[in-house]
Each structure stands twice: as C-alpha cells, then as structure tokens.
Symmetry: C2
C-alpha cells in the first residue's frame, strides 16, 4: 500500500442497477473519507448476485486499504453481504449471541414480532467485529483481510450515516498514519466565492499537520479543516485553533458547523429569541415559505406568507400602492420595501422578507436585465433592501435569492450587518434603479 491509503466504496442492490434510485450513499461516504484526508479511488455497484459480489470483494481486497460496503444486510433472501464476504475469504458464518439479543430487544421495544429471517442478521463471518445499529435491526461489521479493512453498513441512508460517523470513521482514523489521530470539522459559509475565501484564509493551515479543504454546494461553500497529531487531545486542540482562526477572519460568513443547515440555524435563532417571521415572495414564488415549513414545529416562529405573482395582488393583499408600481415597476427597490413592510404589518411579524426579481429566462429589459432581483428585510422601524443582478439560470437564481433572505434573518437575529453575497457580480444597492414611468412591468416581469 502507498503512504496515502486508497479507499473503495461498493454499494449492493438490484434497485441501484435498474436506475430506480440515485445512489447518494457513495458520495456521502467519499465526502466523509475526504474529511480524514483519505482518497476514494473506486466506486462500484453490483447486483444482489453472489458471483458479482465475490468478484467485487476480491478485487477490492487487492487494491484498497479501506472498503466501505453499503447494502445487503437486511433480513431477506436477497441480503447476502455477510454470507458472500465470508465465502470470498474462506470464513464460516458464526452466530453472535449479543447481536441476536440486541435484535430481539429491538423488536420487543417496537412491539413487533421477530421472524426467523431477522435472526439471520446475527450471523457474521468469523473474526468480524460487530458495529451496533441503534436505529435499525441490521448491525454492521468490520472484517480485516490481510491489509484490507472491510466495513459493511446498511443501505438505509440514515442508518448508514450514523454508523459511518459513530463506528466506522473512528476506526479508520485509528488505523491511519501510524497511530496518529485525525480530527476534522465542517464549517459552512454563505456569501463569498471560493477563490475569495481562499485568499481571505491565506496562511492558515499551511503546516503539514493541519490542512484545509474547500467544497462548493451551491450557493454555499464548505470548509473542511483536518488536524493530525499523536494524541486525540493534541489533534482536537489543533483543530479548535484552526477553526477559531477561520471564524475570526470570516466572521458571520460562517453560518454553521457540522450538520446544521442554514434553515436549521434560522429556526433555532427565531425560537431562542421568541421572534416571528413572514414572507412576501414574487420571484421566489413560495420557495422561502416552503423551506421554513419543511421543519417540524415551524408554526412557533413562521406565521405564513404571500406569493404575490400578479401585480394586483401586491396591491390588494400587501398594500403596495398602484402608483408605486406604476412609477417604479414591480421589480424595484420601492416595491420590494413596500412588500416587506406590507406583509410584516398584515401578519404582525417581527421580521418580514420580500423578493421581487426577474429569474428568467424571459422578461428582461435593458434597464432591468434577466437576473435582476431586489431583496428586502423589514423590522420594526427599519427596512433594509439590496439590488443584485445574478447571471444564473432560473432555478439557481431563485435558490440564491431565497438563501439571501434566510441569511438576512440569521444576520438580523445575530445583530450582524445585512450584506449580500460577493460570490457573484453585484450592483450597488445605493444607486436607485431607473424609473419606468409607466406600468412597464406588466406583472409578467420576474416570472
């Protein structure tokens, strides 16, 4: 094996090869391995067919230090991973009494009857180390064959995610780097492009023991600092130091760490501060409301919203005056402000977000090109509004606009400045847009 250990991911299941589902387990597992600075060299998927599975396992043992296997641990006759992996390397299956008892306890706890098939999930290749599955019936296992470690996990994503993070990654970290300990973090940022971030963070994590990875997940950028040391304490201290230096330089651009999403942060802050929010959406068309209400319990802080696609609705339901629309057009800063203030008053919310823009592909003009958008956030006594032009396709234009709205709610709750993203060309919010002088925006603009 080379000094940089190579990893391989094998996913098993007929449904993958029929194209019925998009296999996201592979990218999840590879992304997590990268967090330990381990490169995945191969992804393979095979049918629930013993010959194909044996072939894949044996090849993996010849070329990879770590092999992550997903699927084939269930209770049905199609679930062959333990049996076939044993067969591939001449190992008998043996019953693990502790695993059997855990499965029994699981069924008792949920009040369901345990079948003979479920008992088959307690048989593992000789020498396997069992990996507990606290949220499902199928335990995973680790099997070491010469220089290769196989980690077999369930195919159900939420069970796989948890087993990977809690059971597999610590074992891989312990085996890497001659006993050196590896720790990594994920910092989520919104509002700055990757190359600018890179420049802002110049000089950070340049020692051999600390590295910094970048990843774009539109419209966000993620940072992945990784620290290596001889002890867990030293690795954790080095990681904490680099995270704190990143946060110091980037400030509020870092919106969360680990698995928390922007929507999750906003929901948490609103709940903690006992504040409420409402939305008035034109170009985002319900996307922001949908994101708020995707979370259980959203009614504690999300009062509702108005999707004001037609201009008369902006007038009748949001109280935006006809004159204002006639003078400035529906896609304008004054209208965005009036929408935010109107929906805030009508819903009695602490904060209100409004969006109006031209997501395209049609509807643009010279004065207001496709990509133009105004975002406003109203609070008691003050409304902030900015004007952007994002040359993006319709879907991304809407996504980015919604993200700005949500990020502004986070920023206002943290007492941070409301700034828009610099990741794309931005036009100054200060200069007023040209007046249209007529009902130029006929209600189709922005749609």
């Amino acid at each position: 094996m080379s000094q940089a250990p190579a990893a391989e991911v094998i996913t098993i299941g007929d449904e993958l090869l029929r194209g019925e589902i998009v296999d996201s387990n592979k990218s999840f597992l590879s992304e997590r391995l990268l967090g330990l600075d381990i490169e995945t060299r191969w992804h393979a998927s095979v049918l629930d067919d013993p010959n194909d599975m044996i072939d894949a396992f044996r090849r993996a043992s010849e070329r990879s230090r770590f092999v992550l296997v997903s699927g084939g641990l269930g209770p049905t006759r199609d679930d062959l991973t333990a049996q076939v992996l044993g067969e591939a390397f001449g190992r008998k299956l043996v019953l693990d009494e502790a695993a059997l008892e855990t499965i029994r306890a699981f069924f008792r706890a949920v009040g369901r009857e345990m079948t003979e098939n479920n008992a088959s999930q307690a048989w593992f290749p000789q020498g396997a180390e069992i990996l507990p599955n606290p949220i499902g019936t199928a335990p995973g296992f680790m099997l070491v064959e010469n220089d290769t470690c196989f980690f077999c996990m369930p195919g159900v994503p939420r069970e796989l995610y948890r087993m990977m993070d809690e059971q597999v990654l610590p074992r891989i970290a312990a085996r890497c780097g001659g006993g050196r300990v590896v720790r990594s973090a994920l910092l989520r940022t919104f509002g700055m492009g990757e190359s600018t971030l890179d420049a802002e963070l110049a000089g950070i994590a340049t020692s051999g023991d600390v590295s910094l990875g970048f990843r774009t997940s539109f419209p966000d950028n993620y940072l992945r600092p990784v620290a290596r040391a001889d002890t867990a304490e030293a690795a954790e201290a080095a990681l904490a130091a680099v995270c704190s230096e990143i946060r110091e330089r980037l400030g509020a651009l870092v919106y969360a760490e680990g698995d928390e999403t922007l929507d999750g942060v906003v929901a948490r802050l609103l709940r903690e501060q006992g504040k409420t929010v409402a939305v008035a959406e034109s170009c985002t068309g319900g996307l922001i409301a949908e994101r708020f209400t995707a979370a259980p319990g959203a009614s504690e802080y999300f009062l509702g919203g108005i999707v004001a696609y037609a201009n008369p609705i902006k007038t009748s339901l949001l109280g935006v005056s006809e004159e204002l629309i006639a003078e400035w057009g529906a896609v304008s800063e004054p209208v965005a402000r009036a929408m935010a203030e109107g929906v805030r008053a009508r819903f009695g919310a602490d904060y209100a977000i409004a969006t109006t823009g031209i997501s395209g592909p049609g509807g643009g003009s010279e004065a207001k090109p496709v990509g133009t958008v105004h975002v406003a956030l109203a609070e008691a006594g003050h409304t902030h509004c900015e004007h952007f032009v994002f040359p993006l396709d319709r879907t991304r234009h809407r996504q980015l606009t919604a993200q700005i709205g949500l990020d502004w709610v986070r920023r206002v709750l943290l007492g941070e400045e409301l700034v828009g993203p610099t990741l794309l060309r931005r036009q100054g919010g200060a200069a007023p847009p040209a007046k249209t002088g007529a009902m130029g925006d006929d209600g189709r603009v922005g749609h």
Copy 2:
C-alpha cells in the same frame, strides 16, 4: 455473451470520487437501458487517472456487451477518455476533420474564440464512429472492440441525456435481438399503487414481443411498455397498441407520456384553456406555489397564493371565520373549503386549491391523527373537498398532498372526476370529522 446482453456504466471524474456531486448519470443511463430490456450489471466510477481508466475499460470489455462511458471528453488535460480508450485497445488517435469543423462552427455560432485545447476534442481512437453533440462542444463516439460496444458521452447531464436518447439507444436497439427493432414508451400515472395497477393491467403485454415494466417514483408510478418486432413499423404499431390498451383501462390515471411532468401538463392545460389558479396552503406551506412558479412564464396562469400557517391569517387574509375554526378546528373540511373559496375570491382566479393537515411528526390527536389532511378545489359555484389520512413522514406527506392538489387542477381542466389516490389508506370523505368544540387546534396543528 449470454442471450440477455449485460451492460456496464463507467463514469469518470475526480469530483465523483471526492463525493462533491451525487452521480445521477448512472441511474439515468441504467433506467434508459431497462427501457430496451437490457440489464445493467455493473456501475463503476474512476478518477481521471490513465491506469485506473485502462483497467476499468479492459475489465468492461471482458464482461459486458454494452459499455456506457460518461465524462472525460472535455478540452482540458484531465479529459482523457478518447486517448486512454485508444491506448487500452492499441488504437492510434486520428483527427476527424468533420468533427473539427463542427467544433469550429459551434464557436463561431456562440461568438467565442476556439482554443487549441478545443481542437483536441476532434481526435478519436481509430475506427470510432462519431456521435454528434448539438448542444455542446464535445462530440461523443462509439468504439467496437470484439463483442463489446463502447459508447462515450459527455458528463454534462443535459448533453448526455440527449446523446443517449438520440444517438446511443437507437444503435443499441439495432444491435440487440438479431436485428429486431425495439421501441419503448413511458406512461406516467398518479393515484394507484403498483400492485393495484398490476392487477388492473392483467393480461396486457403478455406476449413474448411486448413486455411491461413498473417503476415507482414517489408519489407516482411509471409504466414502461417495450415492443420488439422485425421492422420499425411493426414495433411502433405494437407499442401504440399496448399504450392505447393501457390508457383505455387506466383512463385519467395516466397523466403524461414521455418526459412531460405533472406540473408541465397542468401548466400546458391552464395555458391552453386560458384559466388561472391560486392556492391557500397550510400544511404544504408553499410547496404547491413553488412548483407552479418553478416554470418560466407561470405568471400567465398562476396568480399567487397565501401560506396561512397561523390561524389568525386564515381569518384576516382568507376570510375563514373565527367561528368556523373554533367549531371545527383548523384541520377540517369546512375550513379547507373556506380557505379555497376565500383565496379564489381574493385572487379572482378560476380555480383555487387549499390544503390543511397534520404532516407531523407532532400535533396529532385521537380524532385527528398525524397524517390527516383535507384538500379542497374551488371553482365557480362548486367546491370539492376530500379527507385523507396518509401514514407518511412529513416530507412525503407534504409531497403527496401537493401532488393531489396539482392532479385535481389537471382533472378539473380535463372534465375528469376529482378522485384522490388509492395508493394509501384513505378515509371516506363523506363522514364529517368530529367537531372540536373549542379552539383545540391552536394553530400548531398541521405543522
């Protein structure tokens, strides 16, 4: 090779193995192959590394009749597919003058300068047949090596999709079944479970020359009839016959054929009939509005909506009386009806959809368990409402509820009966739900 030709999909690119993107090309290609009744046995992904690529190509040539390769056709130094595939099988690269001219013309048409690198995209392994790419600079190619056909396509999804359908599938069909012609269709259905569909279609497509596949893409079910014959005319006639028999038995359950989505059908029908729609969403929280407005030009038929998450908003903005909410609760048939009628009147729309329910996981009671939902569609002089209990997680509960609303707009525009799905346990819409007798549903219900 066995009588059922095996296929393999190889996707190439470092970004796949870093887990940066979820690789949906594989499932797309396998799903399309299944349309010709060809089973994909292997999925593999490799880095932009010549050794790993050669290894993958050689193994594929030993075991697969058809090998679909995606990625590595671009103009950069990382794009190695043509060169490495040639190397794997001892073929020189040769310049294809026609391809070079096409690339030149592409750059002229978009007004960009062509670089030396782009010219590299006109070099192919000796013996390759070029596959045109009308929407990008990278042509694909077919290479036959012994019994194996390689089809190399760009990794950009929209270019890949088009090349697969227009160039690759007809070539594969021509090579399958001893010169027999294969034709397939995709019929999209909503509202009936897979086993019920199977029973409804008993006796259809049971000859050896016509087969029928099923696939679930929640909340829809897709049917894939496949016909084989000696001539294209005969295959097309057999396919048309089976499609027409399916449509006769299923009626309006089939909402579209081919690539058209439910949202697309609804938009087309609204536009064709010059009708408008508005929405009042409680439990779907903006999801229906977001789906309407995702399509360019939606302002022609979509007027807007109200996300009425808090009860006072149902009263102040939708005109649902406080007494009605007090008597029946926010999650009730009378409130759903009043919401639909209220939003229809306020927006001046031809049709209005309303949803109110308990998507969970919390908020249920014995009388109104988690999963309860009322969907209403209001038109001039009539409002239709149904009551369901769907034991699904929050995300799927919202998805299914939104789908019913959109499907009802389709049905009302087609003059079809408004029926709910039978794919899940449904409670009769006739029996009125129990009165709450108080403000029992305190605004959190349904959220």
